[in-house]
Symmetry: C2
Subunit: 496 residues, 2 copies
């Protein structure tokens, strides 16, 4: 190993360790922390962020990088990829002046509670001044980072390296044009009965079943855990310590299962990174979009498929006697029921992307300035009507529903939908590799899926960008076509 590579690896590993400690602080905060621990927790988190930033921007790091660049020809492919990603990280960390980072953190941390109050009181005007401030800080952030065409591109890039408006817009346009007629058709079909999904389901059994699913998926309990929290999440400390949470919603039990499948997809990705590269970007996930592709792959492509429930429904029925007598096909149709609703996080596969497209277009226009903040509620409601045929009964259930803007995460939303597109592209490659996947899944075999994802995606970490990875796995560039064709096939059958 090159001397300077070793130095960088040491420095980078300490940053990773500090980051992993921060993540544990977050995990604990959402799971077991006593409520009044929140005050000191905020100070702990802030201190760790400061230590991480100091190390990410330390001249030692830059100097070792500069030396290693000169020796690039001596490096292996993986080492060269690590160097490229270290350069990216270093440049990004240095781009933002510390006083700006501090200001951004302060404003966004205050604005979360302002947003929460505004949502509670259904009072967009209460949030508007802060949001204006955040948007101008995001623009400032974009100028520090740098961009070619649009400031929003710089923001997209922080979540999905290399992503630009010019790449997203055509994908999302194609998607929208493909989804709207499908949704129209579904809405004219008779409603699907799903009342058996609601009622009184034992909480312990729900969690036990969650653990049963994890085991079947190959989510090793020696390296992970399942707990409860208000909002489900996945938190990776290390490939050998990757934890997820789910939630139990009184009256509606599929929530818990869906969250387990989704978060386990994230967690299996982190568990599949190569621990021998821990400390380097090789042992980090490629992008938010690729991450989301892994969660959606498991949640929707496997966990909402008929072969999957052909195996698991009888097991479910043993745990929950109220499901006895529900036929597989009725269960399958119920968990895939399409209903336009106001809330993104409750959306089905067909409408989900429309929620994201709405947010993407508004973000883009808020950053460019063509959409003034005060016009958000009106624009939101118009677009909801246009895309989903409904108007939220209040701003609380409309433009105030998501936390993202309040903490300045402009540029994040598109990765949700990119994840769905990537997942569909990966799934086509998976189907080619395993034409018999349905009969295997029907027998309860799931670990071969994990192994395939591991081989094709997880183990590569950040060696390839999201775009490169999609090309490498599928032989094609990112595209909306596989996702659209899957949705049309599946939902035409369900709503025939």
């Amino acid at each position: 190993m090159h001397k300077d590579f070793k130095i960088l690896l040491e420095l980078s590993k300490k940053i990773q360790l500090l980051t992993s400690i921060s993540r544990l602080l977050e995990w604990d905060q959402e799971t077991y922390m006593p409520p009044e621990g929140a005050t000191v927790r905020a100070e702990q988190v802030e201190l760790m962020a400061e230590l991480i930033h100091q190390r990410k921007t330390h001249p030692n790091f830059g100097e070792a990088l500069a030396r290693l660049e000169k020796a690039e020809h001596e490096l292996s492919d993986n080492e060269r990829a690590a160097l490229r990603e270290w350069k990216r990280d270093y440049k990004l960390a240095l781009a933002l002046p510390p006083p700006f980072v501090k200001k951004f953190a302060k404003v966004t941390s205050e604005s979360i509670s302002i947003w929460a109050t505004a949502r509670k009181n259904n009072d967009f005007a209460h949030f508007a001044p802060t949001l204006k401030n955040i948007i101008s800080l995001c623009k400032e952030r974009a100028s520090f980072i740098g961009f070619d065409a649009n400031p929003y591109d710089a923001l997209l890039d922080t979540f999905e390296p290399g992503l630009t408006i010019s790449k997203v817009s055509p994908l999302f346009k194609e998607l929208k044009e493909g989804l709207l007629p499908l949704l129209k058709k579904i809405q004219s079909a008779p409603q699907i009965k799903d009342d058996f999904l609601y009622g009184d389901f034992s909480h312990d059994e729900q969690l036990d079943f969650g653990n049963e699913l994890l085991k079947a998926m190959g989510h090793d309990s020696a390296k992970g855990r399942l707990d409860l929290s208000t909002h489900p999440f996945s938190m990776a400390i290390h490939p050998s310590d990757s934890r997820i949470t789910t939630r139990i919603t009184a009256g509606s039990f599929f929530d818990c299962i869906g969250a387990v499948l989704h978060e386990a997809g994230h967690s299996l990705y982190e568990m599949g990174l190569l621990p021998e590269y821990y400390g380097s970007p090789i042992c980090e996930p490629a992008s938010y979009g690729i991450h989301e592709s892994q969660s959606r792959f498991w949640e929707t492509r496997i966990g909402q498929s008929k072969p999957f429930w052909s195996h698991f429904l009888p097991k479910l029925q043993k745990r929950f006697p109220q499901l006895e007598g529900v036929a597989l096909n009725d269960f399958y149709r119920a968990i895939n029921r399409v209903i336009p609703s106001c809330t993104r996080v409750e959306a089905d596969e067909v409408t989900y992307s429309l929620h994201v497209i709405l947010r993407y277009e508004m973000e883009r226009d808020l950053i460019s300035g063509s959409l003034p903040v005060d016009q958000i509620p009106a624009r939101w409601n118009e677009t909801m009507q246009e895309l989903l045929g409904i108007t939220p009964p209040s701003d609380a259930e409309g433009c105030l529903q998501d936390i993202h803007w309040s903490f300045g995460a402009f540029g994040y939303f598109p990765s949700y939908t990119l994840g769905n597109l990537y997942a569909s592209q990966f799934f086509e490659a998976f189907e080619e590799a395993y034409p018999d996947w349905e009969s295997r899944v029907q027998k309860g075999e799931l670990t071969f899926i994990r192994e395939w994802l591991n081989q094709m995606i997880h183990q590569h970490g950040r060696v390839f960008s999201a775009e490169e990875l999609v090309e490498k796995v599928t032989g094609k560039p990112a595209s909306a076509a596989p996702y659209l064709s899957y949705l049309h096939r599946k939902y035409n059958a369900i709503y025939s």
Copy 2:
């Protein structure tokens, strides 16, 4: 606030925050961490220790200290106490050269598993070479720290500031001389029946009852939690986040309750520190001995008293039908049964100190060199025979039972017994303040005890040394007399 006091407080607060994060890492490791997380956890803990040591020995700290010393006359009493303790901490941190700290950490971390193997295989010879090494490192440590009469004094001082052999030895002599005849008398009395304490007790009910006790004691669940771990412990992140664990031993249910009472005593101490002084030594516990006094106060003086069980036994009987029909006096006598055993952690109130005295005398002689390591097993067994009238069936159950020496904690054991002495002295003052305590406890009132401890002990943090605190609360210097007189009174009655 003086400018330099403010600077020190800022520096010291960051050290506290880092320490509290380390403690959370430890808490997580013993409660919820997936087993394979251990490897990265060790690296996280090591990195935090490094960061803490760097900050504790940073010249900035020393310079601000030197400036503040010159302005000492401008400080309030509390600020002056903080300055004194900061000086102590800084001196202690600087005393040990970083290569020595590293070596000590390495040797002791390796030796823990050597000790564990030796204990497992009942093979003292396997542990002996490492123990010799640790003892010579402890002597080296003592020389770095400095001492007047004996190197062991320097080690005692790190756990119990100001403690020396010349102070401990007379206390322990008095104690031993008072305990031996009492034990002899007890052993000649008829055995107490306690078989109802063993059997199959619902685990959930044990934990629930633990939480019921915590609530009654004023252990605020918004600021603390109760979990399970292999060895019970208390871990304070901050006065508003202080967690304890207990264990459930199959077949023997008083273990769980005793641990809850003991650990809650520790935790209430930490919760009672003044958060407005967080970051300074004022918001830190005075010493290990004072800490132990708080746990033993609750565990033995309250939790093994008759008034306490007069209130709680009926509640216990509702949860555990197998206890129905057990009379209060029989229950009280059973939980206070005295039986010499080989194992310190299972010892009753009368024999516990004898276990500690044995260890203290051996430690003292190991450090002075008058006891060679190879003679440990023989000396151990002789002293066990002399003090407790039993000989351990094996070294595993004898001189290899405790982990302490394997991680170099020479000087720690005495604080266990000091805690009992302090607790008894505090209890005399408490009885004077509340002559009606028995009738109040009998009604289930416990929070007035917490408030008294809070007022007299907790809130002072490190303002007073352990010795000063004992004098301040009781008007008398540290003494074994109150403890002895309590034990004689109590156990003469039980074994009459």
